[in-house]
Subunit: 151 residues, 4 copies
DNA sequence: TTTT
DNA sequence: TTTT
């Protein structure tokens, strides 16, 4: 019954995050991330292969996304695969695979950052379970994180 | 353009792998893997949450899967997310997300293994790019792997 | 300044964990974990290569280790690299690299588990930052975890 | 006996790589990488915590490092923990833990790149075992890689 | 559809 | 839809 479901991505956002503020202080951000693989085929030609990932971020991470991420931003993202299932109007079973983001590190040089006074400050939430160092605009999901935004 | 697209899973197979031998010595195996997350909800009740992943393995890894994996097998798997896109009969765009497996380690105790004379032998292919230790029935994708099966 | 420092290991314990109960309810467990890489050399002979890792677990994870892990246990472990530095008696600078464990999943079949009344229950702490599914005896570090042990 | 020994780091180089060309076309590069963790302590003060990692890269990866990496470069690195053991002059057992790099992606914006004629080209070796997309100056270890450098 |  |  043990399980591990872990995804690690580094790529660029295809557009600005779509952020929804829900009732009860909940926030959710959705954004797609491109990871591009580049290789040479047999004839020696370079081939680019792009995979698009649907990211979903909640609460503290969603707020960071809203404030700092925009189309083109490069990020390191850690999370898990999550499949939404539902029935469409025709009664067909439909599924959509998303990446629920649990950790994020921004990889753009600071000067690219929007909304910032130009600082180099790092952001991480102080959850003891922050599963790793997460500086620059870097955060983990966690309890109390909502109040932990440094701005 | 840089990209990282990495998935790490530990779970159990939902059924025996489906293996297809294609022309030109190509082999592909498909199998679904369950990763179960277990937590206590607010009321203190234990809740199980199972996510199913569609794995795709090629060539050497497919042969290992065919020989060693079966319904219930526990495995560590490393790979990348890959989305297949096509149009269905109604002309609708359809997508299916799969995990292309690039590395695998069997986690069952040896005695569980099918088809084996009871050995404890480890299997790994000798690709220099084998990105890590992969013993027991453990293998990486790689060139020449097809000839590297230990049976 | 952004950083990611992540380690993922699957292996077996070299001996029982050494657990120390410190003041203020702090608990620390130390144990070494072997990861074995197996490959064929040029001559086709199988070669085993074992790397030993010094694991350090705190609080809830340490208690789980104390209760469930023993010499030979197979575990999946996630954490970060941490170097302790000090001066020895001769005034030499010394370093010791350890893996600070932040997530753990036991991979033994339940019947191997010591100290259990035979249950199959799964254990995970309910930190919202639990970065992934962690069932069976599986836990994450996290706030309040100390009180979250199911035994 | 199964094992997984995997390290994932994102950080900045502390100095230029030290590259040694050995006999038989072997090349090795050593460089230290800083991963910085940033958090707020109880008093709300920001604390930075830097961990230094000794990276070792071989052959194709070493050449890429020699050509593209320099002090301050930001990189994503994937590899395994490897402990060198030896006896010093006094006969004491000594150990040194290194990260053997098996995959690398440069994370600097292109304009930061040294030695380049301004190109945006991506580099990856075409090993089928390249365990993931590795574009920009991005490479995996692998067979034949030595001849696969695009410059 | 798995596993405990 | 991104990025170089």
């Amino acid at each position: 019954m043990a399980g591990v479901n872990k995804v690690i991505l580094v790529g660029n956002l295809g557009q600005d995050p779509e952020v929804k503020h829900l009732e009860g202080d909940k926030v959710v951000a959705n954004v797609s991330l491109a990871t591009t693989e580049s290789y040479k085929d047999r004839s020696g030609n370079r081939v680019d292969n792009t995979e698009w990932h649907d990211l979903e971020l909640w609460d503290g991470l969603a707020k960071i996304a809203e404030s700092y991420l925009k189309k083109g931003s490069k990020v390191y993202v850690e999370g898990k695969i999550k499949t939404d299932s539902w029935q469409d109007e025709q009664g067909n079973n439909r599924k959509k695979v998303k990446i629920r983001v649990l950790n994020m590190t921004m990889l753009d040089s600071r000067t690219d950052s929007p909304n910032t006074g130009g600082g180099n400050s790092n952001y991480a939430n102080n959850t003891s379970n922050s599963s790793q160092s997460m500086p620059s605009p870097a955060v983990s999901e966690g309890p109390g994180e909502d109040d932990d935004l440094p701005f």
